[in-house]
Symmetry: C2
Subunit: 434 residues, 2 copies
Amino acid sequence: MTFTDIASRTYNHNFRLDPIVRSLLDTDFYKLLMLQMIRRLHPETQVTFSLINRSKSVRLAEVIDEAELRAQLDHARSLRFAKKELIWLAGNSFYGKTQMFAPDFLAWLAEFQLPEYELERRDGQFVLHFHGPWTHTTMWEIPALTIVNELRSRAAMRGRDRFALDVLYARAKAKLWDKVERLRTLPDLVLSDFGTRRRHGFLWQRWCVEALKEGLGHRFIGTSNVLLAMDADLEAIGTNAHELPMVEAALSPDDASLADAPYRVLEQWRAHYGGNLLIALPDAFGTTSFLARAPDWVGDWTGFRPDSAPPIPGGEQIIRWWQAHGRDPREKLLIFSDGMDVESIEATYRHFNGRVRMSFGWGTNLTNDFRGCDPEGEAGLEPISLVCKVVAANGRPAVKLSDNPAKATGEPAEIERYLRVFGSEGRTEHAVQV
Amino acid sequence: MTFTDIASRTYNHNFRLDPIVRSLLDTDFYKLLMLQMIRRLHPETQVTFSLINRSKSVRLAEVIDEAELRAQLDHARSLRFAKKELIWLAGNSFYGKTQMFAPDFLAWLAEFQLPEYELERRDGQFVLHFHGPWTHTTMWEIPALTIVNELRSRAAMRGRDRFALDVLYARAKAKLWDKVERLRTLPDLVLSDFGTRRRHGFLWQRWCVEALKEGLGHRFIGTSNVLLAMDADLEAIGTNAHELPMVEAALSPDDASLADAPYRVLEQWRAHYGGNLLIALPDAFGTTSFLARAPDWVGDWTGFRPDSAPPIPGGEQIIRWWQAHGRDPREKLLIFSDGMDVESIEATYRHFNGRVRMSFGWGTNLTNDFRGCDPEGEAGLEPISLVCKVVAANGRPAVKLSDNPAKATGEPAEIERYLRVFGSEGRTEHAVQV
């Protein structure tokens, strides 16, 4: 006898939409931490986020149907934080701290809705902007990315039969588990999932997170994805991102104020959060410049997240800075999160082991590595370098320089001005894969 | 919302048995072809089949619960051929021939039931005998093997959590698909599934067969498993086995009659079947002896299935015989089926390509290759060399010499007598893996 749940089957025949984003918690934890601060300090600031596809050879608007994209974005706008989600945010501890989110913030979140979007097609790409209060547009970053990435995966797999899909996922599972087996030979590894934004799909990310929980044990400290953290009872991981210094910089009235923006943001952050959340992101306008002008108190912070310099020289540069400021690197933390994979995690781990505390944020190569897995060839499943970035604040253009010029964003004239203010020392171009 | 079919879930909680054999068609096709002939020629012959575990280091009775084994054997005895199965046997064509099975045989099959079994435990092994009419005991061979092999797999996986099992099967799927991708580079490959008897489990064999169908296209000609052939609309593959000459030999009244037994069996077979079913199995009492005494008309048969000599020298020996008897090997067929895997299939294919027609029966290494797949190590999933063989006919001991002394069966004194009659030329020992 074959048993079929006829009701489910009939429902499946008729569903209008298979939603990609089903919860507002399906986002990165740092968005919530930043949002709480943004709401206090910038309740009126208007910020535009825009989708930027750095992988220009992939013509997204020719791959993804615009109507499907609108349906998914509209669905995300229909979501509200569920009561149980807000209860969990209120009652859970994060980084060992209870009541991380203030009651007034949680009350405000209960009313939260993603704001409108502006979408058109131009030259084979989608032009997707989110205009509005920073307190709202910031929350589009992750859903916009997960929606576009998953629609692209779905398009690539359209028309595949069940068997080809079965082999595809079997190989991807086998591939990830081989990575897990390599990583668990590193006794003091500290690793978390940072793969939400570039994931192949939500269900695949969930499988990956379960694999790390099962296979890495204590080495796996949690996930940046708040929904998966809640569902799997894992730690939610993350602190802050480039949008903070980028908006602070964009709003700076003059060059002197601009030069000081990265440090003002750190002071604001410290006023809101402490302990392990005191992680500085040094590369928004170049790490070399950041370190050269950094006040001594930055040395009291828990650590740095070098996010665009190659990990080993990038880490060495920060260690030298700590030593020059009389800090013992063995008490400090480096979080590596830029395009890491097993090889670079192993190399970085071995290089720094015993000299500094380390943590790895494993992103695209965790949740979207199907290279060599597709029985029908590769087309469409290779990850692309898609970001959703602040492009303007209160009408003024925003800029990111990065340690890697290939990751810079902003208008050319404004980038020139930033390079004048911050200098370009230490910036070296290397290919951005993901 | 999570939907659960509560009725199915509740049923699953309470089932008494998850049957391994669910249909009498879940057997090898050659059993039915042989059975039709046995029923005509030997309606009264009493034949004992016995389980023989050549992998003595695996103490099966310590791995498999006797009560579970009895429950599965009892369940198999409760089966009858279903009406739709008999309709399919009657209406389908096999090897291009319609009405392969006569109406009186099918009417008799409708009443068929597996006979009683005799089971005890001795020295860590199961002693499992099937006594009774050959027309009934012959049908135990495959169910006995699939039941014991799958109970062993189930025992090895008991207590594994869902995740470990998921990785195990993902790796096994990836591994098989890698083999498929290698095999499909051989343009004229002709391959079938012979893996029923040693399969990891029924569901896994079904997946493997679907994989070959999908991945090898026309290179995959079918399966020896009758149920899978029916369900997947594939050709049922197989002709005859050692039990025919073994019983004919055991019933021979004297040495002269014994020496002639292998050829009498071929004449009987030819009287029942023709065309592509005229495949001689030369190794029951040694291929060298068989060929040396073979009548010239054996050269008119479609081909040979060398089943215990190494494929390349074994094939060359037969080609030399054809040439010596004025036959063109390019019009003849060799079926290789002894412990084949991708490497030996490739090597054999390349060696004989263009010189003889070839077909490969892929068994254990198709349906039970989990080597390197188990996240928790290997114990219990490596295939074992388990057979179910004729040991006596009408009270007289049965013997198989084989080209490989490691595969010989029978009482030592009787083996001596057979070696006197057939000689031992050309027999060389090599390890039996599976």
